[in-house]
Symmetry: C2
Subunit: 465 residues, 2 copies
Amino acid sequence: MKSYFCSFVLLISFFSSMLFAKEQVDLVILGPNIVTMNQDRTIIYNGGIAILGEKICAIGKSSDIKAQYKGKETVKTEHSWLIPGLVNTHNHAPMILLRGLGGDQCLQDWLTKSIWPVEKVYGFDPEYIRDGMLLAGWEMALTGTTTHLTSYFLPHEQAKACKELGIRAVVCHGIVDSAPFLKGKTADDLLKSAENFLKTWQNDPLITPAISPHSLYLCTPQTVRKAFDLAEKFQAPVTIHLLETEKEKLELQQKYGKGPVQLLEEKGCLKPNLLVSHAIWVDEMDLDLLSKRGVKVAHCAQSNMKLASGIMPIGPMLKKGLLISLGTDGAASNNSLDMFQEMDVAAKLHKVSTRDPDLCPAEKIFAMATIDGAKALGMDKKIGSLEAGKLADMVLLYSKTPSMRPIYEPYAHLVYAVKGNSVDSVLVHGKWVIRNKKLVNASEDELFTKAGEWEKKIMRMIDEK
Amino acid sequence: MKSYFCSFVLLISFFSSMLFAKEQVDLVILGPNIVTMNQDRTIIYNGGIAILGEKICAIGKSSDIKAQYKGKETVKTEHSWLIPGLVNTHNHAPMILLRGLGGDQCLQDWLTKSIWPVEKVYGFDPEYIRDGMLLAGWEMALTGTTTHLTSYFLPHEQAKACKELGIRAVVCHGIVDSAPFLKGKTADDLLKSAENFLKTWQNDPLITPAISPHSLYLCTPQTVRKAFDLAEKFQAPVTIHLLETEKEKLELQQKYGKGPVQLLEEKGCLKPNLLVSHAIWVDEMDLDLLSKRGVKVAHCAQSNMKLASGIMPIGPMLKKGLLISLGTDGAASNNSLDMFQEMDVAAKLHKVSTRDPDLCPAEKIFAMATIDGAKALGMDKKIGSLEAGKLADMVLLYSKTPSMRPIYEPYAHLVYAVKGNSVDSVLVHGKWVIRNKKLVNASEDELFTKAGEWEKKIMRMIDEK
């Protein structure tokens, strides 16, 4: 009888342990208010999240997650906010090393007088690209960006630096027909190099290789078409500068008798995998075409403001259902890579320029910097919101600073009051990239020292001219 | 002979000690690059500064200062920048406790639907004012503002809180004829209370008492005149909201058959001690009058953007020689008190809205936030630049962060790239207010906890409505 009883007790405890055993995961975060950016825009107060490998395996109330999951690492927080990692859809990341050169000029003067002379010397220098990418990646991660699109020289070097830091990136191979910094390279040379780049990186977990025919003022329509052919072969995203200045509009009109949107349409390049940046000088017909073809937009409010390029007509764009995302552009024309300020200023710019305080409300702007950013890059199945099954790219906001209290309306607070310096920790692909405001995978001292060396080198070069 | 020789040696060593003895001061800072904002806009690389009591006694090259002065405290820094404390000329500081309420509305809706109902309950609550002022003071000091103008309820409480933190403030006693939050008080009651306030604080080293008839839509011209009489009696600054919205312009036109600038002129209120805030809907004639009378302007770019009030015509104002300073406005309509972002966004807004990238160049914008801010408050003999004889109000920027390197053009970097979070330490009136990013004179934990309590209290009040 006793042995029966013992067996019974053992059986019960076995089943109960089966029933109540916590699932083992890599990381559990308990306590933050979670802004999910899922379809219903659920905000979970006192939430919890469980992460296994590179993915979110569960998200819910803190008590439920605590009951069901046991993390190899557990982070308990109070008064903190967990948001999806921000997505910056237009950047030339290593240009951070040129930040501050030639302020207070228009795009054309700034490029030709201040930027291209330096790029002509250093553009193809792997160290310049690597050091710039690492510095930019540090600034982005530190201010809550987990995914960015970057288009600049030597994309292999950029991709490697992003992997080193552990951040996600869409790295574009640039294509131009002619430019002073090309050093004899032709568009065909660049297309060949781009094919090699797309092939090399096509299955990387962090890097999405892409192609960027620069614009229709630096590329012929034929070259843009060739870039699209390559993109189709590798199912890669394409991005192009479009109507950033009125000058571009007027010159293309004069040269081709039509604008760039029409030129792209004729070449069959208006596709859902196309992301156009700036799109300031678009007219009604352009917008109709872009919208009909499912083309996405990367809006760079601050860069457009600083270079006095113009104000993108976001109201009509939203009305036509165009997908808008946000980009900082390079730090040399912004002059920061902080997506919190980008959200804030973009929202304010459109309110005042239309005199409509409800245009670009905070929730919509926050979507542009998260889930709509992911859509712009064709990655919304994987990132852009905090949901079970998605990749674990997220930002923990915490700081005992005056800007973190009081908080009445989460989206308004995230867009208008929180700055990048409230970011405490950042997770990309399930791994810490920033922990307690510190870079995890690179030496901050080394990056800072190298940035100082570039300052001296570039200053000297400018002084000698 | 020997004794003669001894006397001679003693005499020599006495004179040489007289010649080479270092002057004893309270604080010496060695090593920073100093942006003085003096008349010549001198920038001293590897500079030094000596402070005795509340004043700067010497400023120059680090080696010279080191040779001549011995500080009770010596701060040696590298890679850092020392700038004059920033001056915020328009704020309603304790409103920080309402930050985030009623986003995405115009001024009128935001005030009447979201702000006034809360102010009606808490506006005259000394704890609300004190806690709000301390929180705002913390945010301002932490982001490099050493002097601000604040206009809100219970100015005594605000002044006391500023002194507690050690920050400099122009604290205004507000005057209105009627408003829903007045609780039966008349303009004459307020004027009487203002007189008492001006008398009490007239000789304070940190607080400059001032008077603020709110605007010509909440005050009659007679009441504004009475406020000016008081200001004249005490030689106090006056500030007034002017033409912030088109609605104000239209309503005053309808009521008086003329605009507020004309009304102020007729009452003899356009004086050099008058600081008008916003000044968006001014016409050519208004600008001529304001300029002729030496009236100063507080420009609140971000608040005007967020409330979609309009864009101040800064180009014509500068052409007419008007003195422009910068204000954040209250944190509830900005939604931050970081003057670095205010400089950045103000510059960008005017570039894009006029399509002139050289309008508001970085140096001019930096002047608006320092020496011109001091002029706007009538305090430029004492603050606004780093010069021997001036009060020691200054900000040490230092952080090993990506935004502090490379730096090519100091003003461009300060305006477009540096954020408030690069502030390391802040000195006001010769005393540390922020040291290594920490508040010196109040408990950060206590301020943070109290802000959380106000969040709960105000949320509950709103939910119960």
